[in-house]
Amino acid sequence: MVNALAVEARGLTVVRGRREVLHDLSLGVPAGSVVGLLGPSGSGKTTLMRSVAGSQRIRSGTLRVLGLTAGSRSLRARVGYATQAGSVYDDLTVEQNLRYFARVLGAPAGDPSRVLAEVDLEDHANRMVGRLSGGQRSRVSLGVALLGTPELLVLDEPTVGLDPVLRADLWSLFRRLADRGVTLLVSSHVMDEARRCDRILILREGALLADETPEGLLALTGTEDAEDAFLALAGGKVA
């Protein structure tokens, strides 16, 4: 498994509306690793994640996920996807949301309680999602992605709006999952989170700017911390 790629894009091109959003993108996500997806707003992170999850129409190129074409029927229970907007039902309780998605995914009956603990929402199980805080709501959405036994998790900014303690908790959860062999593709705007990844992919204007380890990124940009490295890359100082 060491060298296997959970996600492999070759010449991936995606058009949204009339604009080409991803241009001839080639990249790989090693199986069993945590890969951070970084880049300025509008650089195409969500579009790439939608493509991997199978909900984005692709113009050209190939995209293989767990050895199959992205969006294949048999991937549907093997890939967990949490969208940036947190797609859950506001007019259901936390538990009802988890129970419904667990049924849809064919997950074991005990899964909702396991997930409630993992995203630290046990005290809110019976509250309506629409009345939760932004961070609590996004944790419900993350919880849905954790149901069943996904081999690949595609998480679009899962830690937005969370305090540092919760964020650290979630990143340890991501690490534990990766240790179990799960692959995680996680987008983020918070640079200190990048340090917790095995590899970092940086997108700018729909093209891959860097595919590095956190240390390699610092060395490449000659900077001391991830924030400066990002500024150097996003500002175009390193080609």
Binding site: Q56, R57, G71, R73, D91, L92
Partner: protein, 243 residues
Amino acid sequence: MNPRLTAATTRRVLEQIRHDPRTVGLLLVVPSLLIGLMAWIFNDGRLFSAVGPDLLGLFPFIIMFLITSITTLRERRSGTLERLMTTPLGRFDFIVGYAIAFGLLAVVQSLIAVGFAVWVCGLSVQGNAWLLVLVAVANALLGTTLGLFASAFAATEFQVVQFMPLLVFPQALLGGIFVPRDRMPDVLRAISDWLPLTHAIEAFQHAAGTTDSGSVLREVAVVLAWAVAFTALGSVTLRRRTA
């Protein structure tokens, strides 16, 4: 289609509605209120018995159309539909799950509306009153499935509301509620022959005014065929991949 996933979806939709008691109340009571108002306006049992069946056909249809199209539009806009489409849930599981949930509500709504029209407002029924309930349920299902289909073409709630005058009012006008169909120009009459609401209204007229249950069931079959067609069309509009 997978019955387990369909049932899970029906249950989820009903859970959502249960959290909104005001909608449930409006859904169940409003058709009866409108029918009561009409009975009062006509203030004449014979005249009311002539239009009562049309109203039974119209109000639940409109209400179910609006509720379903807005609920499914919300599902498209909130991203939950996109998420569901990345799971093993099938398109028919989604649509049929919705249709069953709203169909169950329609049964309760129809029982109340028909009961109110017959026992409180004095609508005279020549045939079997249960047949009237059957027609009402079929008609509410028609509204539900048309709403599911129409929501695919609306980007906002405002647009959905505009579909009322576009898709529903012409059918009501051509269905013979205001001018009997045999007095319409030939072209309009030919068009109205094809419209689903026309058959729903005919079914109500036959059920209330005749003892000919065969012709009622024939019209109900046409209404249900349209409901199936809208379900199929609606499922085509559900895309796993979007641009």
